[in-house]
């Protein structure tokens, strides 16, 4: 009370709040920096050899008539949004599409529009089957390895496409075209509702499929080999870098995997992905190559 004005100045104690604020700010900074850094997880995609499956689709002659076609289309919008994951499926289709015209292709029995290819020739013609929803789930069924083997002998039948008349062939092509366009439009609609996770999952599946189809294994490939590649993508979907980050031990195998990615070249579908999702999962991508179905 009786302190003179010349006494030591009294400073109010302001300690606790500044100290707390300081610790808070620096703690937050450290947490933010380390968390961001660590959470850059990459998508890992396992690439297994593409089984030599006949990817056939049953298109019936009865479909050529307009009425059933309408019905089938009406039914589709209901069915398609459910079957989300295989969405990118139609993309690879356009390539095999023109092929039905020449009709003769012993190496790749892939083409879908081939109507009477599957197994017993007489049957498919009269059979009225729901043709479109069928092929969608098929790619999933392809995965199991045991199956491809028994089916391998079958691809020979395709050339026997005598029953198809020229007119029906054109009609078939038209149907396939229409089908594609409807699938495209439904796909767009579904895209709006698709969550980012679903989209990235389907794009991962697309990348996997594209790389698989471009992969030709060297003869030195053995079961149990595994090599991991790091693929760098840019938002346009182009591959800008491929690097082996874990070698299988076999140089030829590694370079065949590398070549598969290089040959795939680009995945333009990735442009549809929101950029945040792209940065998170696809900017750097790890691909694991495994020849699992080899018998030796």
């Amino acid at each position: 009370m009786n302190t003179s004005i010349y006494a030591k100045p009294i400073m109010p104690r302001i300690v606790v709040r500044p100290a707390l604020a300081t610790l808070l700010i620096h703690g937050l900074l450290v947490v933010l920096l380390t968390a961001n850094w660590a959470s850059m997880d990459r998508e890992r995609i396992k690439v297994k050899p593409l089984p030599n499956l006949v990817n056939a689709r049953l298109v019936d002659v009865s479909d050529l008539k307009p009425k059933p076609q309408k019905k089938a289309e009406a039914a589709k919008p209901v069915a398609v949004p459910k079957v989300e994951p295989p969405k990118p499926e139609p993309k690879p289709e356009p390539k095999p599409e023109p092929k039905p015209a020449p009709k003769v292709e012993p190496p790749k029995p892939e083409p879908k529009p081939e109507p009477k290819v599957e197994a017993p020739q007489p049957k498919p013609k009269p059979k009225v089957e729901a043709p479109k929803p069928e092929p969608k789930p098929e790619p999933k069924v392809e995965q199991p390895k045991p199956e491809p083997k028994p089916e391998q002998p079958k691809p020979t039948p395709p050339p026997t496409t005598t029953p198809t008349k020229q007119s029906s062939r054109d009609a078939l092509a038209r149907i396939a075209q229409e089908e594609l366009s409807t699938v495209d439009s439904t796909e767009e609609a579904a895209e709006l509702t698709a969550t980012a996770d679903e989209m990235s999952a389907s794009f991962a599946a697309l990348i996997k499929r594209t790389v698989q189809s471009n992969w030709s294994r060297p003869p030195s490939a053995r079961n149990g080999m595994e090599c991991e590649l790091e693929v760098q993508l840019v938002p346009t979907g182009e591959v800008v870098g491929v690097r082996v980050i874990r070698s299988s031990g076999d140089l030829a195998f590694d370079s065949s995997a590398e070549n598969a990615v290089r040959r795939a070249g680009s995945f333009p579908e990735l442009q549809k992905l929101p950029s945040g999702e792209f940065e998170k999962k696809f900017r750097r991508l790890n691909l694991i190559f495994k020849p699992e179905d080899l018998r030796f």
């Binding site: 009370m1 109010p12 709040r17 300081t22 620096h26 380390t34 850094w37």
Partner: protein, 236 residues
């Protein structure tokens, strides 16, 4: 699978000098933030106190009553700051001098003003505390960070000279680690500079207010002094 470079790994695996620089910067950043918040609270309190006291002072209250109230608060252990301490210094000196009959009114005013000027000085000193530290953190920590960076890059390039195969991968971690030091320097410096500028202008404003108050109060004391002396002359 390659190890992801994490920021913490970068800091922990840095060379000793760079780590030392980082420690200095971290410390100065923490201290400057401590002082920023401390000053912020202090200035806010000083502002509030000033408004509160001036309102009371101009409400027509008896000045000796105001002085006694301050005495009570000081006895309770409150630190009396800002305008009120200026008022108390001036009033105390004035009343002490007024008790001495040989003092004329000019001497009374002079004495009170001198005491108040001292109090204003002390207040300004309190306001400016820590500001010098903020200023030096703001101006030097970028350089300290830069020193750490240059040192780290020097090291990583020396490592490059020894290795036969020069790839980016041999220098990149070193450079990355070195750049962390610059980042930390900037992180420490930017808030310190901003806060220093803001607080310096606040100090300016507050000390102007104190000067104004001192003049206003000495005007009142002037009147008082002449009243006291003329009464004394009549009585004497």
């Amino acid at each position: 699978m390659e190890e992801q470079l994490s920021l913490l790994d970068l800091v922990w695996n840095a060379s000793f000098t760079v780590q030392f620089v980082m420690a200095i910067l971290m410390l100065s950043s923490m201290m400057s933030w401590y002082m920023i918040v401390n000053r912020y609270i202090y200035f806010r309190n000083a502002n509030d106190e000033m408004y509160r006291f001036e309102e009371r002072f101009w409400s027509g209250i008896d000045l000796s009553q105001l002085y006694r109230e301050g005495n009570e608060r000081a006895a309770d252990g409150y630190a009396i700051l800002g305008v009120e301490s200026i008022f108390r210094a001036g009033f105390k000196e004035f009343s002490r001098l007024a008790q001495q009959a040989e003092m004329d009114s000019e001497a009374l005013i002079e004495g009170a003003r001198r005491a108040m000027r001292v109090a204003v000085m002390r207040e300004e000193e309190r306001l400016e505390r820590h500001l010098a530290f903020l200023a030096s953190v703001g101006s030097t920590s970028p350089y300290i960070g830069l020193f750490g960076t240059v040192w780290g890059i020097m090291h990583s390039f020396r490592g490059l000279a020894n290795s036969t195969q020069a790839t980016l991968a041999t220098v990149a971690p070193g450079i990355s680690e070195a750049l962390v030091a610059t980042a930390m320097g900037l992180f420490a410096a930017i808030p310190a500079v901003l806060a220093y500028n803001r607080f310096a202008s606040k100090v300016e404003v507050l000390s102007n207010r104190y000067d104004t108050f001192m003049d206003e109060f000495s005007g009142i004391l002037y009147r008082q002094a002449f009243a006291v002396r003329s009464r004394g002359k009549k009585a004497g």
